[in-house]
Amino acid sequence: MLEFELTKHFGKGKRRFSLDVKAALPTGKIIGIFGPSGAGKSSLLRLLSGLEKADNGFIKIKNEVWSDTNKKIFLKPQQRAVGYLFQSYSLFPNMTVMENLTFAAEKDTPFSKLEQLLNATQLTEKKDQYPASLSGGEQQRAALARALIRRPSLLLLDEPLAALDETIRTSLQSYILSLHKRFRPTTLLVSHDREELAKLCDLVIEMEEGKITQTVTPNLLFGDTQTIDLTSGSYRILTLIRHKGQLIVELVSGKQKIKLALNSASWPDLKSGDTIQLTGTTFNLLSTNTTS
């Protein structure tokens, strides 16, 4: 589990911004962080990496405490097993791709491991080139390889694909997925791109004004344009979430568990466990699962 409960105040006066977040997230997954600009997404990553110190709270990953203000524990970024991919790549301009990797690697890292990563990111031919002579996509692949060389238990990706064009972004999404499958670090991915989050993430944290408003599966958060025709009848609601004027309900229909988005205003008092009467209409389908 990656658990954290953090508060941090930034700035003063009118520019004051407070971050107050709490979550317990499964390890080994890709977790998206979604929300408007200024919601505190990057600040959360900076706190988790140790680049910023929280005013209050703790960070615990797989029972290892990285910071706890009550116990006066604070591991510096150097002491945390973190990989951080910035939006602007931040490869070291004075080093070639290979030198960037060897600089990041532990001293006893075998050469084969470096080559393996270069291979996985298709940078073997570019290993002796300096970052300035690489394309944006190549730079980001090299930065990703560098972030993974130390086998981080937490990989933080701060809008890593935002500055890239559509084609490169799609191919890099595949890289992220395949590298994650191989190394399995708990990954937090900040992105504004709903499609990207839906494609890459197992869970999505939604943030607003410095707070986590919900942690849900991507399809639950972003909905789906798919629709379903339901037979009129009574359905029991298994779970229910109200989100931005929508009512996300999970119910059983025949042998399938289905998630639907309904207009929240039409069902003001509905709760989990209630039975809902639906009259043969088309609904926005979010997901389906066959029940056992």
Partner: protein, 226 residues
Amino acid sequence: MNYAPIILSFQLALVTTFCLLIIGIPLAYWLSETRSKAKPVFEAAISLPLVLPPTVIGFYLLLVFSPNSAIGYFLKTYLDLELIFSFTGLIIGSIIYSLPFMVHPIQSGLSNLPNNLAEASYVLGKSRWTTLKSVLLPNIKPALFTGIVLSFAHTLGEFGVVLMIGGNIPGQTRVASIAIYDQVEAMNYAAAHHYAFVLLVLSFVILLLVYVVNGHYFKNIGRARI
């Protein structure tokens, strides 16, 4: 022509520049990233030699180094070190006098680097020292070069501070600028001209070197990015 004052000037400039590198780099690094409220105080203190007449700095150093002052007395009694009218005193005076010429370019170079360059290094487990040595300094080579050359050239042309602290002892504190003054006082314009011309040419060559090397560096960077 007696070349001793020119050689002494070079020795002073070399030692001062070396000491300034050791002092200036950590100081500039700290100034470039500190959020301390005391930062403007340090910046103002470091920049003082830019606006103060050198004689003012020389005068206060004279007072501080004098055996009648607490510091001067301590140095003389416990370390057997007399800084007035000595080459060591000249070095200390020159370090203070040329400090902004080393600190400002390096501080500006470091401040202009993207923030996350250092942060990327920290999250890769690298210490602040390793980050400075392997990541930050190699990426501000032109600023470092400018700092080194300006400090060297500024020390080479120093007069007021040297005169106040060092006086005019041949072979010890009589540097080229003092020798010029000395020769003019003695109405020996030919000798003064020799010293002055050597300093003029050297200063021009040094500055030319800064512009050529930095121009070449940026041109190469530009090419690499195309």
